[in-house]
C-alpha cells in the first residue's frame, strides 16, 4: 500500500500519530478480552469475556509487536544504542498494524459468512477493527525509517544456532497447528496471521539477519530442518487424515524439486514432467505384487525403484535428444505433446488397442504396501507412545527421497556442471563458444530430472494403492510448474514452500477446490508479471528477470563481497 504523505506533515504530526497508533494497538490488545462473535460455531469460539480463544491469542501478537515498535523508541535514541539504527521501527510498526488489520478483516468476514451477516460480530470484533484502522492510519503519518541493518550487527554463533533451532520448532508447531484446523475460516485467519508475522519479521530486518545466520550455519540449518520434518508425525497422535495430506505434499514437493532442476537450473520448460512421474508409477505398478500387475517379474522395491527411474530417464532421452538440439521453445511444446502421448498410450495398452500392459483406463489397482528389507509400510506401530500409521511410514520414506533430491540438486548446482547450466541460461551461444557442451548438459538435466520423477513415481504407486492414466494429465504438470514458479525457480526452500502451499490450500479450503486451477492459472500470469523470481528468490535468477535493475545488481554484489556466501563455489553443497 502506498499512501504518499508529505514529509513536513509527517514531521509535524509525529507525536500525535505515535500516540494514536499506541492507542489503536492497545485497543486491539484489549479487544481479545471481549467477545468477537455472537455464536460459538464461527471460528474457534470467540464468545467469552476475558477468555481469549487460541486464534485471538495468536492475533494479539501482532498488536503487541506494533505497540512495542511504537512505544520503545519513546525511551530515547541514546538508550537504545545500536538497536536504534538496526531496526526499521516505524515502517515495521506500519507493517504490523497492516497485518493486524488484515487478520481482523479476515476474521470478521469469516464470522459474518459462517453465521450469516455482520450482525453476528460482537463489540470485541469492532473494537479490534477500529483499533487496527487507527493504528494503520496513525503509522502512515510516521516518518519512514531507514533500511534495517540488523544483519550488520555482530551476533555470537550460539545465538544464531539457538534462533535457528527455535525457528524450526516454531515451524513444526505452526505446521501441526495449521493442519489441525479443519474449518476453512480458522485456517484462513491463521494463514493471515502467519503471513503477517512473516511480513513484519522481514520489515524488521530479521530475514536479512537470518539469511546470514543460515549461510554461516548451513549444516545446522539443514540438519534441524530434517529433524523437525522427521518429528512431524509425532505431533499427529496417529491421525491418518493429516499424515495422508502430509505424505502427498512430500510426493508433490519431491516431484516439483525434480522439475526445478530442469526449469530452475537450466531454464528449460518441461510441460510433460508429470508423465515421467507416471512412467515411474506405472513401472512400479506392473512390477508390483498386485493381482492386476501384467508382468510376471516382481523384484524387490530397491530394484524396482532403479528400473522405474531408468525407464523414466530413457523416455526423457527419447524426447530430449531430438528436441534439445533445436531450441528451448520447441522443448516446451514437445514435452506437452509427450505428456499427451503418455496418457493416450497408457490408456491404449489395454489388450484391445494394443498389448495389455496397463489395463487401459481402469489402471492397476490393489498395489500392496511397500516392503523394504522386511519392513511392511502398511503396518502401524507405536513409537514413544505415539501411534505411527501407514502414511507416516510413507512420509518418512519420502523425506529420504527428498533429501536425496536436494543433495543431487545442490551438489550439481554448485559444481562445474551447475556453472555450465548457468552459462547456458545466460548466453547459450557464448557458452558453446567457450567449450561448454551445451547439448550434453541440457540432456543430462532433462534425463536426470526424469530419473528423479521416476523414483518419486515408484513410491507414489504404492502410496496411492492404484495407478490410472487420468492421474497423470497435463493439468498436473501445470500444477507442478505453478509450485516451482510460486516458490522460486532455482531454490530448494522456495519450491518446498510453493509445493506445500499449492497442495495444502485445496485440502484445507474445500470450498475453493473447484477454483483451484483457475486461480493457479492466474497465479502463473501474475507471478511472471510482478515477481517472476518467486516467493524465495534465487539471487542470480532475480538478476536475470530484472536485467535493467542496476540497484539490485549492486545490492547482490555487496552481499557477495561482504558475506562471501552466495555464489562461492567452494562452500555450498553437501559433503557426503
Amino acid at each position: 500500500m502506498r499512501v504518499v504523505i508529505p514529509d513536513e506533515t509527517k514531521v509535524r504530526f509525529r507525536y500525535p500519530a505515535r500516540a494514536v497508533g499506541i492507542a489503536g494497538a492497545v485497543a486491539m490488545i484489549v479487544s481479545i478480552l471481549l467477545p468477537w462473535s455472537y455464536g460459538s460455531d464461527a471460528l474457534d469460539d470467540m464468545t467469552f469475556y476475558g477468555a481469549p480463544s487460541p486464534l485471538q491469542l495468536f492475533f494479539v501478537i501482532l498488536p503487541v509487536l506494533a505497540l512495542l515498535l511504537l512505544a520503545v523508541p519513546l525511551v530515547g535514541k541514546q538508550r537504545l544504542g545500536r538497536w536504534a539504527k538496526a531496526l526499521a521501527w516505524n515502517t515495521s510498526a506500519k507493517t504490523a498494524s497492516l497485518a493486524a488489520l488484515g487478520v481482523v478483516v479476515v476474521a470478521l468476514a469469516a464470522i459474518a459468512i459462517e453465521l450469516g451477516g455482520l450482525i453476528n460480530v460482537e463489540p470485541g470484533g469492532w473494537v479490534a477493527l477500529v483499533g487496527a484502522v487507527l493504528a494503520v492510519a496513525a503509522t502512515l503519518f510516521l516518518p519512514d525509517s531507514p533500511e534495517p541493518t540488523l544483519d550488520r550487527l555482530k551476533s555470537p554463533r550460539w545465538l544464531q544456532i539457538t534462533v535457528i533451532a527455535v525457528l524450526m520448532a516454531v515451524l513444526l508447531f505452526t505446521a501441526a497447528y495449521a493442519l489441525s484446523l479443519d474449518d476453512a475460516g480458522d485456517f484462513l485467519v491463521f494463514a493471515a496471521f502467519a503471513v503477517g508475522i512473516v511480513l513484519v519479521l522481514r520489515q524488521v530486518g530479521a530475514f536479512a539477519w537470518l539469511g546470514l545466520a543460515a549461510a554461516n550455519n548451513n549444516r545446522v540449518l539443514v540438519l534441524s530442518a530434517f529433524v523437525v520434518a522427521f518429528a512431524f508425525p509425532f505431533t499427529q497422535n496417529g491421525s491418518d487424515a493429516n499424515m495422508s495430506i502430509a505424505s502427498q505434499v512430500l510426493i508433490f514437493a519431491a516431484t516439483a524439486l525434480g522439475l526445478n532442476i530442469v526449469v530452475g537450473l537450466v531454464g528449460l520448460l518441461d510441460l510433460g514432467y508429470i508423465a515421467f512421474l507416471g512412467a515411474g508409477a506405472f513401472t512400479a505398478a506392473v512390477l508390483s505384487e498386485s493381482a492386476f500387475a501384467t508382468i510376471d517379474f516382481h523384484p524387490p522395491f530397491i530394484v524396482t525403484v532403479l528400473i522405474a527411474g531408468t525407464v523414466a530417464s530413457l523416455l526423457g532421452l527419447l524426447i530430449g535428444a531430438p528436441t534439445l538440439r533445436v531450441s528451448g521453445d520447441y522443448l516446451a511444446i514437445v514435452t506437452l505433446a509427450f505428456g499427451e502421448i503418455f496418457r493416450i498410450t497408457m490408456n491404449n495398452l489395454d489388450g484391445s488397442d494394443g498389448p495389455n500392459l496397463t489395463n487401459g483406463s481402469s489402471g492397476i489397482p490393489g498395489i500392496p504396501d511397500l516392503n523394504l528389507f522386511g519392513f511392511d509400510f502398511g503396518d502401524p506401530h507405536v513409537i514413544l507412545g505415539v501411534d505411527i500409521g501407514r502414511f507416516a511410514n510413507y512420509y518418512w520414506l519420502m523425506l529420504v527421497v527428498i533429501a536425496m533430491i536436494i543433495v543431487v540438486f545442490m551438489n550439481l548446482n554448485y559444481s562445474r556442471i551447475g556453472r555450465g547450466w548457468v552459462a547456458i541460461r545466460e548466453d547459450e551461444l557464448a557458452a558453446e563458444a567457450m567449450g561448454v557442451n551445451t547439448f550434453a548438459l541440457k540432456l543430462l538435466a532433462f534425463a536426470g530430472g526424469a530419473f528423479l520423477a521416476g523414483v518419486a513415481g515408484a513410491v507414489k504407486a504404492h502410496h496411492d494403492v492404484s495407478v490410472t492414466p487420468e492421474q497423470y494429465v497435463f493439468l498436473e504438470s501445470a500444477f507442478l510448474l505453478a509450485a516451482v514458479v510460486l516458490g522460486g525457480m532455482g531454490t530448494v526452500t522456495g519450491v518446498l514452500i510453493g509445493a506445500t502451499i499449492l497442495k495444502l490450500l485445496p485440502e484445507k479450503l474445500r470450498f475453493f477446490s473447484d477454483y483451484r486451477l483457475l486461480l493457479f492459472g492466474l497465479l502463473m500470469v501474475f507471478m511472471m508479471r510482478f515477481r517472476p523470481e518467486g516467493i524465495i528468490a534465487d539471487e542470480r535468477r532475480q538478476l536475470e528477470f530484472h536485467a535493467e535493475d542496476e540497484e539490485l545488481a549492486t545490492d547482490v554484489e555487496e552481499d557477495l563481497i561482504t558475506h562471501h556466501a552466495h555464489f562461492n563455489p567452494e562452500r555450498k553443497g553437501f559433503e557426503l
Binding site: 533445436v326 520447441y330 502421448i341 493416450i344 548466453d427 486451477l517 492466474l522 502463473m524 508479471r529
Partner: protein
C-alpha cells in the same frame, strides 16, 4: 481405392481445421517469437462465442436451410470472431506485452497460465450466464440446417457438408490472408516487423499495433475453426482447445513456423497423415485410438530431420 479417397477427404477436412488454427501460431511466432500456448483456448472461445451468439438470437432451430446458411451461420461466425479476438487482444495486452523484454521463459509460463485460466473460466462460469447450459461437460452445437448432418455422395465417397464448409473456409481465409499480407499496409508492416523489428520501428511502424494485428488475425481464423469444429463434431467443450491447439502447433512446425503458407500446407499434410494412419497402419496400432500419437511422432520426426519445416522458414534457433 475408394477408401483412399474417402480418407483423403476426411484428412483434408481435418487438416483444414488444423490449418486455420495453425495460422495463429505461425503469425504470432513470426513476429514476437512466442509460442502462444493459449491459442488453442482462443479457438475454444471462438466456438463458445458462436454458441452464445446463437443463444442471443433466441436459439433458432427451425430456420430454413438458405436462411441458416446465409444469415445464421455468418452471424454466429462474427459472434465467435468478436469473442476470440477480444480475448486474444486482452491476453496480449495483459499477459504478454509486459514481458516482452523478460527472459524467454517468462512469457512461456505466462502463456501456460493463460491457457489454464481460460479453460477453467469457461468451465466454471459459462453456465452461470442465465439460460446458458453448464459447460462442465460437452455442449451440443447448434444445428445449422443445410450443413449439420447433410452429406453429398460422390461415387462411393461420402462428403459431409460440414467438411465442405471447413475446406471452403480455409480457401476463403487463405485468399484473405494473401490479400491482407501482400496488399494492405498493416499486412506489409507485419512482414517487415517479422524480418527485423528494430528496423521496422525505425521506419515508423507501430510495432505494438502490428503485434495486436497478428494476434487478432490468428484469433479470427481460430474462431472460424471453432465454428467448423462445432459443425463437424456436433458438440463443443472447454477442453477442445488443448488437443486441437497441440495438433495445430504440430502443423505449424511441419510447415515451417513463421511461414503462413507453411501453416496451411502443414495443416493439410498433418490431417491427411492422421486419416491415412488410422486406415493404413495394420494391426492394433492402426486403431483410431493411436492417431494422436502418430501426429506427435510426426512432430518429433520433423524436428529431428527438418527443423525448418516442409516449406522452410526461420529456424527456431535463438541461442
Amino acid at each position: 481405392m475408394e477408401l483412399f479417397f474417402q480418407q483423403l477427404i476426411n484428412g483434408l477436412s481435418l487438416g483444414s481445421l488444423y490449418a486455420l488454427i495453425a495460422v495463429g501460431y505461425t503469425v504470432v511466432y513470426g513476429i514476437v517469437q512466442l509460442i502462444n500456448f493459449a491459442h488453442g483456448e482462443i479457438f475454444m472461445i471462438g466456438a463458445f462465442g458462436a454458441y452464445a451468439t446463437w443463444m442471443v438470437l433466441g436459439q433458432p432451430t427451425d430456420w430454413s436451410a438458405p436462411l441458416s446458411i446465409l444469415v445464421l451461420l455468418p452471424v454466429m461466425i462474427i459472434g465467435g470472431i468478436i469473442a476470440s479476438v477480444t480475448v486474444a487482444l486482452l491476453t496480449e495486452r495483459l499477459a504478454y506485452r509486459p514481458l516482452r523484454n523478460a527472459p524467454r521463459l517468462a512469457p512461456l509460463i505466462s502463456a501456460i497460465g493463460v491457457s489454464v485460466f481460460l479453460q477453467e473460466f469457461v468451465r466454471l462460469f459459462y453456465g452461470r450466464i442465465p439460460g446458458f447450459p453448464d459447460a462442465k461437460s460437452a455442449i451440443p452445437f447448434p444445428v445449422v440446417h443445410g450443413i449439420s448432418g447433410e452429406i453429398i455422395q460422390l461415387g462411393g465417397v461420402t462428403i459431409q457438408m460440414s467438411a465442405v464448409f471447413t475446406v471452403g473456409a480455409l480457401v476463403v481465409c487463405t485468399v484473405f490472408l494473401w490479400f491482407f499480407v501482400n496488399r494492405t499496409k498493416t499486412g506489409r508492416a507485419m512482414v517487415a516487423t517479422s524480418q527485423d523489428p528494430d528496423t521496422a520501428r525505425l521506419m515508423g511502424i507501430n510495432v505494438d499495433r502490428v503485434i495486436m494485428a497478428a494476434f487478432a488475425v490468428g484469433a479470427g481464423l481460430a474462431a472460424i475453426a471453432g465454428v467448423a469444429h462445432g459443425l463437424s463434431y456436433g458438440n463443443i467443450g472447454f477442453r477442445m482447445g488443448f488437443l486441437a491447439g497441440l495438433k495445430a502447433f504440430t502443423a505449424a512446425v511441419l510447415g515451417g513456423i513463421g511461414n503462413i503458407n507453411g501453416a496451411v500446407v502443414g495443416g493439410l499434410v498433418l490431417g491427411v497423415t492422421e486419416a491415412m494412419a488410422t486406415t493404413f497402419i495394420p494391426g492394433q496400432f492402426g486403431s483410431s485410438a493411436w492417431k494422436d500419437v502418430w501426429a506427435f511422432v510426426l512432430l518429433i520426426l520433423v524436428l529431428v530431420f527438418r527443423p525448418q519445416g516442409l516449406l522452410g522458414a526461420k529456424v527456431v534457433d535463438r541461442a
